[in-house]
């Protein structure tokens, strides 16, 4: 029986220019990366655009990967920052009024439109991208605060604070009729 190659071996081969090794590494993580990118960007076409960019960046930057973190965490960081860049660019295009061609809906995306009515999705959409990312990475993907801090390039304390606010806002969006704390002012 052939043992699957370790990430370390795959990284070594990918650094040497072996595309197959690199795509093997990426495909192992792709489901998780799609999960983050899709929830941040909201459509398949934008997810694909961002992940193309992110994976190429990862390939180019592989020489800087020091294996101090898991490859998946390192890749998360690249995907997260790339998605945030895409969001900024998208917002700026809207800002200056450039004509942005909307995604052409296909069968899958028509289904996505329906899906967006889902209350959980709507609650998630109500969060800012960084809060959404913190929530997904911890409460969906099970990353530790330290890992999320690495992905988002913030301190673990800031992760905790963002997560706390994200959870509060998410719960409030899910249960809009629930009581809120009263102020005595």
């Amino acid at each position: 029986m052939v043992e699957p190659e370790s990430d370390t071996d795959l990284v070594r081969r990918a650094r040497a220019g072996d595309h197959t090794a690199f795509t093997t590494l990426v495909r192992e993580q792709d489901h998780k990366m799609r999960g983050l990118a899709y929830q941040l960007l909201g459509s398949r076409s934008q997810m694909d655009d961002a992940l193309q960019d992110a994976y190429l960046k990862a390939y180019v930057g592989l020489s800087s990967f020091r294996s101090e973190s898991a490859f998946g965490t390192w890749l998360y960081r690249i995907v997260y920052t790339t998605c945030i860049d895409h969001i900024r660019r998208r917002d700026r295009r809207r800002e200056v009024g450039l004509h942005v061609v909307p995604d052409q809906p296909d069968v899958l995306e028509t289904a996505e439109v329906v899906e967006r009515h889902d209350e959980v999705r709507n609650a998630l959409d109500s969060l800012t991208p960084d809060h959404r990312a913190a929530l997904l990475l911890v409460d969906r993907e099970g990353l530790s605060y330290d890992e999320v801090a690495h992905v988002m390039d913030i301190t673990p304390g800031t992760v905790a604070s963002r997560l706390s606010r994200a959870r509060t806002a998410f719960k409030a969006a899910l249960n809009p009729n629930s009581p809120t704390p009263e102020t005595n002012r």
Partner: protein, 417 residues
């Protein structure tokens, strides 16, 4: 902080999300093609990733400016970069190819399937070695600009220079970081950032076609920490971009004549955003001054995370208790400019007790009968009224007040009684 601490209710809710869609057709083929291109480039130019980004940005700018710009991007092929701008028409050519020696008579560029041999500018000056490559060139009105960089640095570029008509006329010297070039209706802006994205400087050419050697540094006010995604708003003829001050990214407009930076949108706005930051008043010790500066900077940047960090568990934002950030965000959401009020109160003189505790405004620490006319004038400036004074005469000052302990701990920001 190493253990994942999931909220089971939220985890359960997130599990109800549909799984992410599969990639569109051709995703992996496209990736493999990209990897092949990168590998081919890597062999001769380690900085191809940066060059690709620049070229993509440059190509986007062509779309932005239209009209008088010819920009031949060298795209992502860092080892093969040369391009020539010849005519003042709006065209974008894909990834021209060539080697990048410092002198040559001609160069072959690839324009779609056809190959065209065009005159090539003679690049002179003081290149460090043959590893110089041309990133892209552009022709704006009468001026030809060619930016060049040594493509041998992993992060960003070094030895960045402008050439005009093949002659280096503005050399930035060794500057680690990223460079961008933004031709527009009021001239040409250049921007330098560090590898980590920190904004370094911006220069502007005064008019279209002006030589790059005449570029003048443009002092931005306020100066962002990060400035990116720059482009021209052709309607208002100002630069637009995304900036980070000390909070989340905000959309900004830059007056290219004065350098004035105007925030036009924020993901986290609050009433104190963009307000002038007051200087620490006399009488504060070093710890108090540090806290004061941190609070006021966070207020002006609407930096909720820092405000959160500055409020200890004992901090009082309401006599009824509650998380200060939640209370303030709730107030702001209800159109009560609670943070602007706080910043205004921190802008007047504090009073001190015998232990060095500082409280704003001064009247807050006094019996009303001891509040001087000067202190009353301060309160009037803050928006209080003579009617308020009448009630304070009976029950004492109960307006907004905040205090920093002698050890620098921010203690409270409350109003009422």
């Amino acid at each position: 902080m190493n253990e994942p601490i999931q909220d089971p209710d939220i985890t359960e809710a997130l599990d109800r999300l549909a799984p992410p869609p599969l990639h569109g057709p051709g995703f992996w083929d496209e990736l493999n093609t990209g990897l092949s291109n990168q590998t081919a480039n890597r062999a001769s130019s380690p900085a191809h990733g940066t060059i690709r980004s620049l070229a993509v940005a440059a190509a986007a700018l062509v779309v932005l400016v239209g009209g008088a710009l010819v920009l031949s991007s060298t795209a992502g092929d860092g080892d093969q970069n040369i391009d020539v701008a010849a005519e003042a028409t709006t065209t974008t050519t894909p990834a021209p190819t060539s080697t990048a020696p410092t002198t040559a008579a001609a160069v072959t560029t690839t324009t779609g399937p056809a190959q065209v041999t065009e005159p090539r500018p003679t690049l002179v000056g003081t290149p460090i070695d043959d590893s110089w490559v041309v990133l892209y060139s552009s022709s704006i009105a009468e001026g030809d600009y060619i930016s060049r960089a040594q493509a041998s640095i992993d992060c960003g570029m070094k030895d960045l220079a402008f050439a005009r008509d093949g002659i280096i006329i503005h050399d930035y010297g060794e500057r680690p970081g990223a460079f961008s070039y933004h031709p527009g209706p009021q001239g040409v802006l250049t921007r330098l950032s560090t590898c980590s994205g920190t904004f370094l400087e911006m220069s502007i050419g005064s008019e279209l076609g002006a030589p790059a050697s005449g570029f003048e540094p443009l002092a931005l006010t306020p100066e962002p920490i990060v400035l990116e995604d720059l482009g021209w708003d052709l309607v208002d003829k100002v630069m637009v971009g995304t900036a980070i001050f000390t909070a989340d990214p905000v959309s900004v407009r830059i007056n290219s004549g004065t350098g004035e930076v105007t925030v036009v949108g924020s993901t986290q706005t609050c009433s104190s955003f963009g307000a002038a930051v007051p200087s620490a008043p006399a009488g504060l010790n070093a710890d108090q001054r540090a806290t004061f500066d941190a609070i006021t900077a966070a207020l002006a940047a609407c930096d909720w995370d820092t405000l959160d960090e500055l409020t200890p568990p004992t901090f009082m934002a309401s006599f009824g208790g509650g998380d200060p950030i939640e209370l303030w965000q709730s107030s702001e959401a209800s159109d009560e400019p609670i943070l602007a009020i706080l910043l205004a109160h921190l802008s007047v003189q504090p009073g001190f007790d015998h232990g060095g505790f500082a409280s704003w405004p001064r009247a807050a620490g006094e019996f009303w009968e001891d509040v001087t006319p000067e202190m009353q004038a301060e309160l009037l400036d803050l928006g209080y009224t003579r009617d308020d004074f009448e009630s304070y005469a009976e029950i004492g000052y109960i307006g907004y007040r905040t205090g920093i302990d002698a050890d620098g701990t921010w203690m409270y920001y409350v109003a009422g009684d």
